[in-house]
Every structure is written in C-alpha cells, then in structure tokens.
Amino acid sequence: MNPLSQSSRRITGGVLLGLLGAALAAVALVDVSPGHPVAQRAGSLVGPGGQAGTAGSSRLGLRLLREAAAAGVTTSYQGVQIVAWWGPHGASTSVVQVWHERDRSILAQVTDMGSVPSATRPEALAAGEQDPDGILGLSQQLLALMRANYEVGYAGPGSADNRQAQIVDLRRPDGSLAARFWLDSATKLPLRRETFDSRARMVSEDAFINLRIGDSGLRGMPVTDVRAWSSQLDSAQIVRLRAQGWPVPRLLPGNLLLVAAHQTVTAAGRVIDLDYSDGLSLVSIFLQRGQLPGALPGWQQTKLSGRTVYAADPDWRSLAWSARGFVYTVIAEAPATTIDQVVDALPHDAGPGFWGRIARGMRRLASWANPFR
C-alpha cells in the first residue's frame, strides 16, 4: 500500500477521532450547562421519595411542616440565603441577607454579588436587578394549600448548612416530586428548599449558607418602611369588582387559588393586586384599567403560549399585556409551564378578523354619516 495513502488515512482517522472527542466533550459541556444539572439532580432525588405516600410518612411530614411554620414565627434568626431560579430563558441567582425577629416579618436585603461564592451561577443578575423572591418561609395558609394540592411525605434524615435536617417531600397527585424541604432537626426552621416542575427539572433552589439562631444575630438589623397595601379586599368587595367588570378569577390553572386581594390608588388610577397560590407557587396579578402604550422602554416584547406579552425580566417572571380595557401585570414564582397556563387563561385581545373589521368599519361609517348623532 502506498505509504502516503496510509499516512493520510491515519491523519483522517485522527481527525475523525478528534472530532468525535470534541463532539462528546461538547455534549458533556452542554449537559452541565446551568439549565441542565437541574434535571440530573431532580432525577437523583426520586429515590428517597419512596417513603412518601404512606400514611405514617405523610403524618410525620405534615407534623414537621406544621412545626416549621410555627418555628418560622416564633424563632429569631439571622442568616444568608442563596436564592436561585431557573426559567425557560435564563437563570438568576441572588445572595440575600435575612433577619427574622420573633413574631415579626422576615426582612430581606439583597447583597452585592461580589460576595457570591464561586459555586453560584454566572448568570446572576446585577445586584440592582435582584429581588429577594423565594426566601424560605412557611405559613399556616401555605401549609393548608400544600395539603390540598400535594402529597406530603417524610423522606428521611439529611443535612443542610452543616446542620442535621429532616427531609420532607411534596409530590403531585401523579407522584412526581414538586418540592423538597430540609428542616432543621433542632429548631424545625426550613434550611433548604428545592422545587421542581412536572418534568423533574429544578425550578428554584433556596438555601441558608450561614444561619444563626437566636437574637444575637439581629444586632444591626436594618429597618424598612415598606408595608403591604393597606386596603385588603374582602369577598363582598371582590364580588362588587367582578360586577364592575374587573376580571377576578377565583382559580387559575395549576390549582392556583385566590388567597389575597389588595388595592391601592395611584396617579395612574386604581390598582388591584390579586395573589394566587397552590402552597408552593405564588402568582400575583396586578390589574389596572387602560391599555399599554405603543412602546414600553425597558420591556421586551415576546410570545408566551402564542400570546404577545412584554417581559421585564430576563427570566420572564414579570409579564405585562393589555386586553379588553385592562392592563395585566403578572409577577410569578412558579414553574414555567404554570406561568404559561396562567397567561393563557387570562384575557387577551384577539384581532377582529377581516369580516369583524369590515363590520366595525361599516358601523363607524354609518355613525359618521348620521346627521342626528
């Protein structure tokens, strides 16, 4: 055989092997890209859930969650949390300083990302764009919704933030893992929470990386004058709103139940805040009469479930659109599929169509030609 031909074959084989290796490396790199370990980790979490679903583990899990909700009210603590979120179009990570004084609300302050450990994800937003969504916390109201929508189960012991923990799983009726809580064995405070979508992809991960129990950590606690909108709407007021044409659904897709409604008045008019939750997710809908201007600087026009909406965040958790005389602003902490369903379920303006436009034009022409109008 021609030596030149042999050598060229070796070179070709080497190139092919090199390309194959590069391709495998690329696949491996893609597999460990920020969005994908989520699925891997979720898959690895299916195992311990075997205990969930039995009556004993369910009772134990519920008891632990109740104790966690109570501990969240009665225990003072201070710590630092990592709050990570994966959306369909990006990920965000925040480092949040948290203070909780007994029987008070949690105070949260986003810290500069310069203090983020190297293990956190590089897609983190600039500090000014962060928000302390997803801070670990449980309430009796959320617990009631969790019981209504998920199967609670004790998944065994574990550890988080170098503390002994008890793991509690929340599973959907189809058995898929929806959330996992690590509760401090000593205080029952939630140390870590991971949530997953129905395809076992991680949606969020919130974890203490430095928790100090007791009042000692509260020295230097900041003050805030932020308050919830004072005007909370009761059932009768919500009924009146509906009668006036305000779209106030009682239930949204994903078993999201209307749990609170507030209103305030701004120079732009009345704003209604409707909060929906299934115990894990929280979706807030802000309603205003009017329509969006033709251009929204800072917002990105996009399509969601085939609907044209504006997104204010790179991870699409703040969405806005106008339809039928109302402006809708949705802020959601929920899996992407749930957000899609919620957006799809709310009103949107469809084009009038050719004949609809002709009919509308005919009516207008007739009204213009009417000398008695």
């Binding site: 008045v265 201007p293 002709i358």
Partner: protein, 175 residues
Amino acid sequence: MTHLGHRLSALIDGELSHAERDRVLVHLVRCEPCRAEAVALRTLKRRMNALGGAAADSTLTHRLMGLALPGDPLVDTSAIREPGWFWPAAASGSPAGARELRPSRFVIAGCSAFLLVILGAAAFAAGGSSSQPAPQVTPAVDVFMVQHEIMTGVLPVTRPRPAPSAGKSAASHAP
C-alpha cells in the same frame, strides 16, 4: 368532399375562433360547393335538434341565439346572412336588441362592483383601530414587585429595582 373538412362542422357548431371563423366565412362566400354543404349540415343539425326533447320556448331560444352570436364581424358577412344558411331565421330579427341590452347590464354590474369595493376598503380602513380608546398605563413593576414580595411574607430591605424607565413615573405613586 368540401375544401373545409372538419372546420365546416366546427363552424356550424360554433366552435371556431373569431379569426378562423372569418377565414372560413370568406371561403364560403367564394365557394359554392362548400356553402351548399354548410347549408346541408345546418339543416341536418336543425332536424336532429328537433328530434329530441320538448321544444324550448321560442323567446328563450331567441335570447340564447342572441347570446350565441359572434361579435362584430371582422369581414363583411352580410352576403351570407340569410335565414336558413348560417344565422338562424328566428334569431335574425332580434340580435340587435339583445346586443343593446348587454352593455348596459355590464355597466351597471361594473359600477356596483366598483362601489362595493370602495365601500369595503373604506370600512376596512375605518375599522382598523380599537373602538374603545383607553388611557395608557405603564405598569409600575418595581412597586408591584415589592407588594409581591410582601405577599410571600418577606419585607424587602433593598433599593428599588431599576424598573423600565417609563415605569418610573408610575412607580412614584407608592401606596
């Protein structure tokens, strides 16, 4: 056998184009045998038609014959326009009236269609924008975000998010 072959029967059946028909007619004017065969074919066709089905109403027949008439002749065919030869005898007296009616119908139909198109275009243009003008509102997303966070049980101690610039004005209306 005539000089025209199958074109003669095509002429009788009205299947020739204008130009071809004119050429055949010119030939018929000059050729006695062909003209005789044309008469024979025409007679045969008329008799064949008379054999089948009920006789059509004469008025309808005249109208149909009038519609079937060719356009203005390119050559002078007056010499061969004799009843029983090419032009049907019953139709020979009426085509002028039928021709006078047709243009007026076309004009009416054309004008109506034109007006409809104009009206439709005007209606399409007039029906374009929303019929309910509403005030323009820019969502104060930073204010809404704080309220959303409070609903999660957390009071944020953080500087306001840099909301979209247009939202700043609306954001100033904090509760």
